[in-house]
């Protein structure tokens, strides 16, 4: 028995090695390098050898291991199940603790510029994830072009702020409304389509918006991007070391020393508030008729139609509201960066946001937070290995789909139940 197993495993791992050689031999082993403007091939056999050996040995041990496991027949250990049970029991306390932690976070001793930047970035993604969660998680529409609304929000904020000089608090709702209108505009023709067709069409729309931004030079300055977007002010008090004559700034008003961190901390709280508004809105709307209609539509469209729910209008509201929150996040992005260009709104951004929502467990608000921390953290950890980090990111998407296809927090709490004895 044991001998047979080892022989079988050896054969299998030999096969794996051959496949690995075929996969990595040409692409990794023969790197094309330009020398004097002519491409030559630079062999890298050692790396290939390492990878092939790794694959073959890995396969061998997996074979042995799974065989033993099959014999033991233990019940599958499920980390996610444990997490979601824990969150179910202590959900409210954890949420309060998390919010409290995020409020005191900027005053932690380790929260320097680097950590604050990461925190702001994560908050932005959490907000985008919560916004997209309305579309994907609640209404069940896979939108692969969400970044288009993010871009519309960012560009409309930037254009209004630059050309009219309006303040952040006026431009923010305008940007949200613009993005929402775009959501209706794009959603109207395509929402009849089925799941995966809808995904591809929204992807196409996202790319169209990007191409438009890239080529409409008069309005968007094309690939050069828009510069000099006004920084946000603290209700009229700018964050500047040397303000214009007679203008009171944040630090003089509160009698503080000037510190560039003040602006960063303000931005952090700004995005925190925006994100929490998104979250509160989603939690609230799930209990309203329209939210219930979204979730019902996600489960069974035909049943909904027969009960008099208009699928198109219901989907449109989800699309428009999701787009609006994307637009809010976009204006925050524009004011934080003070510079935007079509480069920031590529398809990969949409993919990241979709990954956050789906991997978190569609429809789960806490899941979005967990998967943002996991995925953005993953990208940050691999920052020094520039081109490998996206490989790790894509690999994580595939792995989570295989091991937990419903996402990290798969359990969905129904918003309405029949009551205890019902």
């Amino acid at each position: 028995m044991g001998k047979d197993l080892i022989q079988k495993s050896l054969k299998d791992s030999l096969f794996t090695g051959i496949i690995a050689l075929a996969l990595f031999g040409p692409i990794v082993g023969l790197r094309t390098v330009a020398k004097n403007e002519v491409l030559v091939v630079e062999p890298k056999w050692f790396v290939v050898l390492l990878i092939v050996a790794f694959c073959a040995l890995g396969r061998f041990f997996i074979n042995i291991y799974t065989y033993k496991k099959e014999q033991r027949r233990g019940e599958p250990s499920s980390l996610g199940k444990a997490i979601s049970n824990f969150l179910d029991e202590k959900g409210a306390q954890i949420a309060i603790a998390a919010i409290a932690f995020s409020i005191i976070f900027p005053f932690m001793p380790f929260a320097d510029r680097y950590w604050m930047d990461i925190a702001i970035m994560m908050m932005t993604y959490i907000m985008l994830g919560w916004g997209l969660n309305i579309v994907i998680g609640l209404a069940g529409l896979l939108d692969l072009g969400y970044v288009a609304f993010y871009a519309v929000g960012a560009y409309s904020y930037a254009l209004f702020a630059i050309h009219f000089g309006w303040s952040f608090w006026i431009c923010l709702p305008i940007a949200g409304v613009f993005a929402g209108l775009f959501g209706i505009l794009l959603g109207f023709p395509v929402l009849r389509l089925r799941g995966d067709y809808l995904a591809i069409v929204t992807l196409a729309f996202g790319e169209m918006i990007r191409i438009l931004l890239l080529n409409w030079y008069e309005l968007t300055k094309g690939p050069d991007g828009l510069t000099g977007i006004p920084r946000p002010s603290f209700f009229g008090l700018p964050f500047k070391r040397y303000p214009d004559e007679g203008v009171e700034t944040f630090h003089t008003f509160f009698g503080l020393e000037y510190d560039p961190m003040q602006r960063i901390i303000f931005l952090y709280y700004l995005i925190l508030v925006l994100a929490l508004i998104t979250n509160a809105f989603t939690i609230k709307i799930r209990r309203l008729p329209v939210g219930r209609a979204w979730e019902a539509l996600r489960e069974d469209e035909i049943a909904c139609k027969s009960l008099g729910v208009n699928p198109r209008n219901t989907k449109l509201t989800a699309f428009a509201i999701g787009a609006m929150f994307g637009g809010f996040a976009g204006s925050f992005f524009a004011t934080r960066q003070a510079f935007i260009s079509p480069e920031s709104f590529t398809f990969i951004e949409s993919a990241i946001i979709v990954a956050i929502v789906v991997l978190g467990g569609m429809g789960s608000q806490t899941g979005v937070v967990l998967s943002t921390i996991f995925l953005i953290g993953l990208i940050e950890v691999f920052r020094d290995f520039e081109s490998y980090r996206m490989v790790a990111f894509g690999g994580a998407m595939v792995l989570i789909m295989i091991f937990r296809p419903r996402g990290i927090l798969a359990k969905r709490k129904p918003t309405i139940t029949m009551g205890k004895h019902g």
Binding site: L144, L193, F347, G394
Partner: protein
Amino acid sequence: MEYFLQQLINGVTLGSVYGLIAIGYTMVYGIIGMINFAHGDIFMVGAFVALISFILFALTGISLPIVLILVLLIAMVFTACYGWTVEKLAYKPLRKSFRLAPLISALGMSIVLQNYVQAAQGARIKTLQPVIQGGFNFFKESEFVVTLSYLQIFIVLVTIVLMAIFTLLITRTALGRAQRACEQDRTMTALMGINVDRTISMTFIIGSSLASVAGVMFVMYYGVIDFYIGFLAGIKAFTAAVLGGIGSIPGAMLGGLLIGLIETFWSGYISIEYKDIAAFTTLVIVLIFFPTGFLGKPDIEKV
């Protein structure tokens, strides 16, 4: 008139490339009902394998026809390995999962392939010296000389030959029969003693090798590739598959041809900056007004 003719020639050449990629989309959709998002990147891998083998063969001094055949075969074999592995790793475990899981997994695979090639081969664009040069010139006395290059003839000829072989494979062989049976009812096919897993694997292998041929042609035709070409080519080929009616193999070829023509005429007569918009707009219009495409079967939703 001459200009129109030139656009027509270019469009048919481009359409052949898209058509070959579109077959992969349509076959996979037909058999397991998922959009293989990573297919465009499989095509990109094929183009890279072709580029590397062209560079290597240039050192040996083998005569051109043999080199072409060898490069085509090498690209097909190595790229097929990629298609097979992607299916085994990312799609097979998800076959019984919920609807969007394979799509997300495919999205992840596409990101992996793109960045893996970028890491292994570098982010810079790669240029290949022209392999086949020269061609026929028509209307030499008029202002606009129409050129039909040998390369274009080669591309269209190879496409026609491959399509013929492929059609025979689907209609006349046991494998083709098994494939068509799997498209109709996988459980029933399995009960008839057909290895469904192997049939699906073969579908991916065939689709990937056709995409790799498209990759060989792409690298010869444009002479410039980078790790990102698979994204756009993939969307356009998918559009082609939808236009022809997804699931229908002649439809994919027809759709590819149409998309090639639409794109060339759009960039020839309207605007070259917005040429990608042409394909996207076509996709949207087709999906909204003829969701079944030209040769597709209507999709009936059952309760």
